[in-house]
């Protein structure tokens, strides 16, 4: 196992009831890189993403077989599907941003501070620093610094999504999972968030699901192509988009799919 692989997935199968949604996934995700998942709708991208921080545990009839190893996160190294893994600590280190912005119905400040408070940060001055820092990283500090007490629900969709990113950053994760974070946003907000990914790469490992080919080429270092619960192609973004080895992947990328 090379040392720069932060996540290694081996032979992962996932079932929703009797339906096999992931059919033996093997892949490694490199530290401080952006990895994008592409593929047609319903092929299991979100499902795999949600395995990485065990969000699938919340779904009642979901069964997972296989292993996901973490390498180089303090206190978590090993298989996340082991019995005595502290799931909450896992999710603290592997943050997630969802397709639709889902800010809590409370103030902007409380939204960002919710995570740190969860993990035991109580002092107001510490929280202030974390909130400001996270909002800055998410590129929304200037728009919000004057009204942190305002309800987050009243912000625009693009702003809300950046609040969600800031909220995820506030717990200081090592990995950030993003499931189509820009699909509900206008081009301008999308560009802001893409830029953000570029900057965040320095400190975080990012895995992003996207339906937008240009987005994948613009921001990601590695790309994985999914079809029907399997990864058919995985390599550097350049390679996958310019010289795809898999014919279905080529068809999909060039828009001749189906």
């Amino acid at each position: 196992m090379a040392n720069n692989q932060i996540i290694t997935i081996t032979d992962l199968h996932l079932y929703y009831g009797k339906v096999e949604a992931l059919k033996g996934i093997n892949m490694s995700i490199a530290r401080n890189e952006v990895t994008s998942f592409i593929g047609p709708s319903g092929c299991g991208k979100s499902t795999l993403l949600r395995c990485i921080n065990r969000m699938n545990d919340l779904i009642d009839n979901c069964v997972v077989q296989g292993n996901i190893y973490i390498n180089g996160i303090h206190g978590l190294d090993g298989n996340i599907y082991d019995k005595n893994v502290d799931i909450n600590a896992l999710r603290k280190h592997i943050g997630m941003v969802f397709q639709k912005p889902n800010v809590f119905p409370m103030s902007i400040y409380d939204n960002i501070a919710f995570g740190p408070r969860t993990h035991g940060v109580k002092k107001r001055s510490d929280l202030d620093i974390i909130v400001e820092d996270s909002l800055k990283k998410a590129g929304i500090w200037n728009e919000t610094k004057d009204n942190l007490k305002k309800s987050a629900v009243s912000l625009s969709g693009g702003q809300q999504q950046r609040i969600c990113i800031a909220r995820a950053l506030a717990v200081q994760p090592k990995v950030l999972l993003m499931d189509e974070p820009t699909s509900a946003l206008d081009p301008l907000s999308t560009a802001t968030i893409e830029e953000l990914c570029e900057n965040l790469k320095e400190q975080y490992t990012i895995v992003i699901v996207t339906h937008n080919m240009q987005q994948a080429t613009r921001i990601s270092d590695k790309t994985a192509f999914f079809l029907l619960g399997e990864i058919l192609e995985f390599g550097t973004t350049e390679q996958v988009f310019q010289t795809p080895r898999n014919i279905q992947c080529e068809n999909y990328i060039t828009g001749r799919f189906g």
């Binding site: 921080n53 969000m55 919340l58 009642d60 009839n61 303090h74 206190g75 502290d86 909450n88 600590a89 896992l90 999710r91 603290k92 280190h93 943050g95 997630m96 969802f98 639709k100 889902n102 800010v103 809590f104 119905p105 409370m106 919710f114 995570g115 969860t118 993990h119 035991g120 305002k150 309800s151 987050a152 629900v153 009243s154 969600c164 909220r167 995820a168 717990v171």
Partner: protein, 653 residues
């Protein structure tokens, strides 16, 4: 660092489990309560029934517990309950369904919310106030009309009950109508149907299962209603032969006699409670079956039927339903009914009477079918629907007027006697006051709240956050639904047996408060759970994805988002507790003149006072108490909308 993390995570782990199990045990409370009610009622009722003899008990036509050889036949009361319930439901349907349709389509937008609020207000009026309205207005008016100068009886009770169940029918039918896909309506319009035709032919039939639910619920409500009925039914255990005749129902019989009697009669009354419980659970079962029918399946069938019945009117459809009931009735008559014939000579007359009614309905059907063909021949279909449409206007006006009438008569009757002295003065025989009742109400409502809210909210949290699909949850829900279906007088009997009797507390405020808290539990659970389920799941996901534990997510994110629902549950509980009287009449003793000194003293509440004053020499005081009660209920309702508004504003929605 690592060690510290381990201990905190261990602590969180333990906390999670502790909280989960305490939520679970709160949830189990409803199961235990249901179990206890059934067990205690059966253990006292069954021996009594077997001593009297099941047949003689259920189908005996004589009720005379004071004779030298007492006879306990409750058939007159069973018939009384059935007649009153049936008639009330029919009256209420004739108005309620059309009010719902009116609100759904024909009502001008600016009136809609007002009328809806008026209907909701009808639901908030305490049943005892309806009873008061009954003896003040309905009975005297009917006395004028009646051929035999008797105002009490089936008609009076049915009228009162039909007003009471009206809100149930309207609100449930309305939500059923609103859940019919819009495409259906638009599709009908696109085919060239008029607005009225689309509503009556397409939308209304598609909402049918909701209407059935409404019917069953209002039957349940009507059959279990005690205090409104007890005031206008008359109270003689005679076989009902006329609309104007003093008779009795099961609930009224229990409420009237259980307090005053002792010895074997009490056991028999508990047995009557068993019969009521039985009715309630059967109705609940039917309700469950209706709900269980899969929505998609239902929808498909309805579409098909709509096509088949394209030429038939809704009224004919409803009449069809009556005819089906008649078919069942015939089968019943040929099998069981015939054998009853040998045992009972008298009641045949009433069965024949029932048959006559059903035959009338057949005639009605033929009449409408005739009109139907006549109109289709003349191609004037639209006129019929215009008439139906006008009926929706008339029905709605009647509904609103009814509420105004109730408010007017109670207030005009009671206001002159309302004074500071009457409310807060010291109680004497010549000058009865409300002070003991106010104290009693506060204590009883307080006890009910303190018990029902924490347990109910915990149970709702368990249901919505921890047990969405677990296996046993089906039974938990069944228990909660059954609790909701049990008539309040049965809760009264339960409190009477267990708290008053077995616990030896005698008639006391605590006994009433406990019985009341069990009774209001299902309401608390339902309303809270609804509001928890309304919290979007993405909030939960977001919180969990940040590493927040389930408990933290539940208590910090989900619960605050649903605070307005919990506020709603609280106010509704207070409202029910204030209005309730059937439970309390058997548990707190209706001691009107003495100030309660602690929770073990007997006492009274405002609603019980209305019954007491209305039945004794203080009719004016009854009306004045009614005014006080109405004002309280109005304030509560205002408070409710205020709370909801405030909380949703705070959340920035």
């Amino acid at each position: 660092m690592t060690i510290q993390q381990n201990t905190t995570s261990k602590f969180i782990h333990v906390r999670e489990r502790v909280i989960k199990y305490s939520l679970f045990s709160s949830a189990m409370f409803s199961v235990i309560a249901l179990f206890a009610i059934v067990v205690f009622l059966l253990s006292r009722g069954i021996p009594a029934i077997s001593q009297v003899g099941l047949w003689k008990f259920l189908f005996g036509t004589d009720w005379n517990p004071n004779a030298s050889t007492p006879v306990y036949g409750i058939f007159p009361m069973i018939l009384g309950s059935i007649y009153v319930t049936g008639l009330a439901t029919i009256i209420s349907l004739i108005f309620g369904l059309f009010i719902a349709i009116f609100l759904y389509k024909f009502c001008p937008k600016k009136f809609r919310s007002t009328i809806e609020q008026v209907i909701n207000l009808l639901a908030a009026v305490p049943s005892i106030v309806y009873g008061l309205f009954g003896i003040m207005i309905v009975v005297p008016v009917l006395r004028e009309i009646a051929p035999n100068f008797v105002g009490h009886g089936i008609l009076a009770s049915s009228i009162i009950l039909s007003i009471m169940v009206l809100p149930t029918i309207v609100s449930i039918s309305l939500s059923a109508l609103r859940s019919v896909p819009r495409e259906l309506y638009e599709g009908a319009l696109a085919l060239g149907a008029t607005r009225e035709q689309s509503v009556f032919k397409v939308i209304f039939p598609a909402a049918r299962s909701g209407v059935y639910t409404a019917i069953i619920l209002s039957i349940g409500r009507a059959i279990g209603e005690t205090m409104a009925v007890i005031m206008v039914i008359g109270g003689s255990p005679q076989m009902p032969t006329s609309l104007f005749q003093s008779i009795d129902t099961l609930t009224a019989l229990i409420a009237r006699s259980a307090r005053e009697e002792s010895g074997f009669l009490v056991e028999v009354l508990i047995a009557v409670g068993v019969v009521l419980l039985f009715f309630a659970l059967i109705l609940n079962y039917i309700l469950m079956k209706i709900k269980e029918r899969k929505v998609a399946h239902n929808y498909k069938i309805q579409l098909k039927k709509n096509n088949e019945k394209a030429n038939r009117s809704t009224i004919v459809g409803l009449t069809k339903f009556i005819i089906i009931v008649q078919e069942y009735w015939k089968i019943f008559w040929q099998t069981i009914g015939k054998s009853i014939k040998f045992v009972l000579t008298k009641p045949i007359y009433y069965f024949a009477y029932l048959l006559k009614i059903t035959r009338l309905s057949l005639l009605w059907y033929k009449f409408w079918a005739w009109i139907d063909t006549w109109w289709s021949v003349h191609n004037r279909q639209t006129i019929k629907y215009k008439i139906l449409k006008w009926w929706t206007y008339i029905a709605s006006t009647c509904g609103v007027l009814m509420l105004l009438a109730i408010l007017y008569f109670i207030i005009s009757g009671g206001l002159p006697y309302l004074s500071w002295e009457f409310i807060f003065g010291k109680y004497t025989l010549d000058n009865p006051t409300l002070m003991p009742a106010i104290v009693g109400t506060l204590i009883v409502v307080g006890i009910a709240l303190v018990i029902a809210i924490p347990i109910g909210v915990a149970c709702a949290i368990f249901l919505s956050e921890y047990a969405r699909q677990a296996r046993g949850v089906k039974y938990l829900r069944l228990a909660i639904d059954s609790l909701a279906a049990i008539p309040s007088i049965v809760y009264g009997l339960f409190g009477f047996i267990v708290f008053v009797g077995i616990f030896g507390w005698d008639y006391s405020l605590i006994a009433g408060g406990l019985a009341l808290s069990i009774m209001t539990l299902p309401t608390v659970i339902r309303i809270t759970e609804e509001s928890l389920l309304a919290v979007h799941h993405t909030y939960r996901e977001a919180s969990r994805a940040l590493g927040a534990s389930k408990v933290r997510t539940t208590f910090r994110i989900v619960l605050p988002s649903s605070l307005s629902g919990i506020g709603n549950a609280m106010i509704q509980t207070i409202g029910r507790a204030i209005s309730e009287s059937a439970v309390l009449i058997l548990t707190i003793g209706m001691v009107v003149g003495v100030m309660p000194s602690n929770i073990l003293s007997p006492g009274t509440t405002l609603s019980l006072n209305i019954y007491y004053f209305g039945n004794t020499l203080y009719p004016d005081q009854a009306a004045a108490t009614g005014v006080v009660l109405l004002i309280l209920v109005l304030i509560l309702n205002l408070g409710l909308s205020l709370i909801v508004k405030l909380l949703s504003k705070k959340q920035g929605k």
